[in-house]
């Protein structure tokens, strides 16, 4: 079943980063409905947040495929609602 996911990526900022991350979604025909990109609290590390609709299995695969990109430090997906128990990695709290 398709649900709304917030996919967050922390990555070393460089030319082409957004394309490489977006490619993981476009390849599967998934539309990025909302997107923010900003420098994180850590210098040189960008934080990209994307909202998409997909199923849980695809969301998990997407997270891994984003993390496979060389520049990416970490990615995770949070499902809405009830984000906390569905965090892929319990490293960060996300308010959404």
């Amino acid at each position: 079943m398709k649900k709304e996911y917030l996919v967050t990526t922390l990555a070393q900022d460089r030319v082409g980063l957004l394309s490489r991350v977006a490619m993981v979604f476009s390849r599967r025909g998934i539309n990025i409905e909302r997107l923010t990109l900003a420098e994180s609290a850590m210098k040189g590390i960008a934080s990209i947040s994307m909202v998409i609709h997909t199923d849980g299995r695809t969301a998990r695969q997407i997270v891994k495929q984003i993390e496979k990109q060389v520049e990416v430090l970490q990615a995770f997906a949070a499902e809405r609602p009830g984000i906390n128990q569905h965090m892929e990695k319990d490293l960060q709290m996300v308010t959404y």
Binding site: V15, S19, Q65, V70, E71
Partner: protein, 576 residues
């Protein structure tokens, strides 16, 4: 004449003043590269000029098409464990390597490809031979980058080589604007050993290894499925130990072939659509599957929903995206195949699983009687692909490397050319690239000059990259090319016969005279149509010094069996 390579070799002084082109050469030297495959053109000319000025320092193989260059580099990398290096110009030179990049990406082949680019201030202006190769190649490279300032060159090249060869290997592309190659810099090189955002996990989690060992020790009917991850990790010896210690029957994916000697009693054959009957059927009976360095490709699993339903599955792979991707498993272990096996082997209790292993034999006999016997020793009719391949494998001698193209002959070669030495198969697995074989054989032969490289290709595939025959002649590459010629795009025709009511849509080929064509390129050639002459012609192929092309005219409408029909479970494999 400036010969920067010699100067640098003699006096490795940090900060030596060089041009960007020379910096590329010195960086290659630092990475231990001595062989390049490429094709010059406008934007890459400064590099070729520097290469020319350093004549003799690198072996450059000039192919006749950039696709040939990248497939040759793939063949080279696959047999040597080195990183293949490709040089092309901008625009069409760059786009012509895309198929090779995609092939290397799927088949985990380490490559560093340098593409020329128009000068920096013209980028984005649709300049002559400008193409945005970084964006175009993004989906088929492990990593890519453009060198914007000459000072960045050594660091980016070091990064490129590290990324290409580490973890799950793959292709990397470096885009070199012409002005960067012509600018001056102070050269200092440091190899990259780690990156902040990229750390392949080599060592398995010890708790998971212990659990895997316990499961394997307790299993009644375990099976080990292995793929190219074993070859890439140089873990063939560990695989043999693990198989013997556990007494587990083992089966290979197409790219896993040669990781365990074909003659090993516990080796049960190839998995997948045209693999062997016994290992496919027995995956439906095993109680434990230990999958190492393979990715449960759809050609291996058949219908995935019914695959391995009854078994507990342990999946070991260095690429975490492969774990739980195609097949949900019970235990995922992210690790290098060698590291994993080194840890688990001491925990495996020696077990006698002879009865289980022997239970594969009747299925093998069934396959032998219904398929193999007719394939390799037919008594009448036209020559069959299988018998040619058996005779080639018997006649080639000990130091054989098998290279194939894609299609029916590829499956027949995988089935009937037993490989006992590691890293002796070069074939396009994941992408299934027709035209791969001939250029890949060039690279394999350059990488292993003492081996006998046999390129078995179809009459369709060879025509996709046939211009590389002249490369073989110019470079004096002693590769033995065997064209199995049936006048069809055989595998597509087989599917048309079986699943499209024999409507042979656009699969009939009018072939050139391969013998004349080969001879016109300076590669001696011969043709055989009669079974009685086959031995003699194969003898001629192997005993003519240097390169040779043998066209074998085979039965027109032969099919590859056994087969897992599309949409079926592997245990529904058919023998005819």
């Amino acid at each position: 004449m400036r010969t920067c390579v010699k100067t640098y070799r003699e006096n490795k002084k940090p900060g030596m003043k060089v041009t960007g082109s020379e910096a590329v050469l010195l960086s290659l030297l630092e990475e231990g590269v001595d062989t390049l495959f490429g094709y010059p053109g406008g934007a890459i000319m400064p590099f070729y000029d520097a290469l020319h000025l350093n004549d003799g320092c690198f072996n450059h193989v000039l192919t006749r098409h950039e696709q040939g260059a990248i497939h040759a580099a793939q063949g080279y990398a696959r047999v040597t464990h080195k990183t293949g290096v490709v040089i092309t110009t901008s625009g069409p030179g760059a786009t012509n390597i895309l198929t090779g990049l995609a092939d290397a990406y799927l088949d985990s082949t380490p490559l560093v490809c340098f593409t020329g680019q128009v000068v920096g201030n013209l980028i984005g202006s649709d300049a002559f031979q400008e193409t945005d190769i970084l964006t175009i190649s993004m989906a088929v490279t492990k990593w890519n980058a453009r060198v914007n300032r000459v000072e960045e060159l050594p660091e980016l090249i070091a990064k490129a080589f590290f990324i290409a060869r580490s973890g799950r290997p793959g292709p990397v592309l470096i885009d070199l604007p012409k002005d960067v190659m012509m600018s001056k810099m102070a050269f200092t090189y440091t190899q990259v050993q780690s990156l902040r955002t990229y750390e392949p996990k080599m060592e398995p989690d010890p708790d998971l290894v212990a659990k895997a060992a316990q499961w394997l020790n307790n299993a009644q009917k375990p099976m080990i499925l292995f793929g190219q991850g074993v070859v890439l990790a140089k873990a063939e010896e560990e695989l043999r130990q693990l198989v013997e210690q556990s007494g587990s029957p083992a089966a290979a994916t197409l790219l896993g072939l040669s990781a365990l000697p074909a003659s090993h009693p516990l080796y049960k054959g190839m998995l997948g659509m045209h693999g062997n009957y016994a290992p496919n059927m027995k995956t439906g009976e095993a109680d434990l599957i230990l999958a190492i360095g393979m990715r449960f490709d759809d050609r291996v699993t058949g219908t995935v929903s019914t695959y391995l339903k009854q078994a507990r599955i342990i999946h070991v792979d260095i690429d975490p995206t492969e774990l739980n991707k195609n097949k949900e498993v019970d235990l995922q272990i992210e690790a290098d195949a060698k590291a994993f096996m080194q840890r688990i082997i001491p925990m495996i209790q020696p077990a006698d699983r002879t009865a289980w292993s022997d239970s594969f034999t009747p299925l093998y006999e069934e396959e032998f009687n219904q398929v193999i016997k007719q394939d390799i020793s037919p008594r009448s009719g036209k020559i069959k692909m299988g018998e040619v391949i058996r005779k080639l494998s018997a006649g080639v001698g000990e130091k054989a490397i098998l290279v194939t193209d894609v299609g029916q002959h590829q499956m027949k070669a995988a089935r009937y050319f037993p490989l006992d030495r590691p890293r002796t198969l070069v074939t396009s697995g994941g992408l299934g690239t027709m035209g791969f074989g001939l250029p890949a054989a060039i690279g394999a032969q350059v990488g292993c000059p003492d081996s006998t490289v046999v390129a078995i290709v179809g009459d369709g595939g060879i025509q996709m990259t046939i211009q590389e025959l002249i490369t073989i002649a110019q470079e004096g590459i002693p590769v033995k090319v065997v064209v199995l010629s049936n006048g069809y795009l055989g595998m597509v025709r087989q599917w048309q016969e079986l699943f499209f009511e024999s409507r042979y849509a656009s699969t009939t080929l009018l072939n050139p005279d391969f013998v004349k064509l080969s001879e016109a390129c300076g590669v001696p050639a011969d043709r055989v149509e009669k079974r009685e002459e086959l031995d003699e012609k194969i003898h001629k192929l192997f005993h003519t010094p240097g390169n040779f092309l043998l066209e074998v005219v085979v039965e027109k409408e032969e099919n590859v069996f056994p087969m897992v029909p599309p949409g079926a479970a592997v245990t529904e494999m058919i023998l005819k």
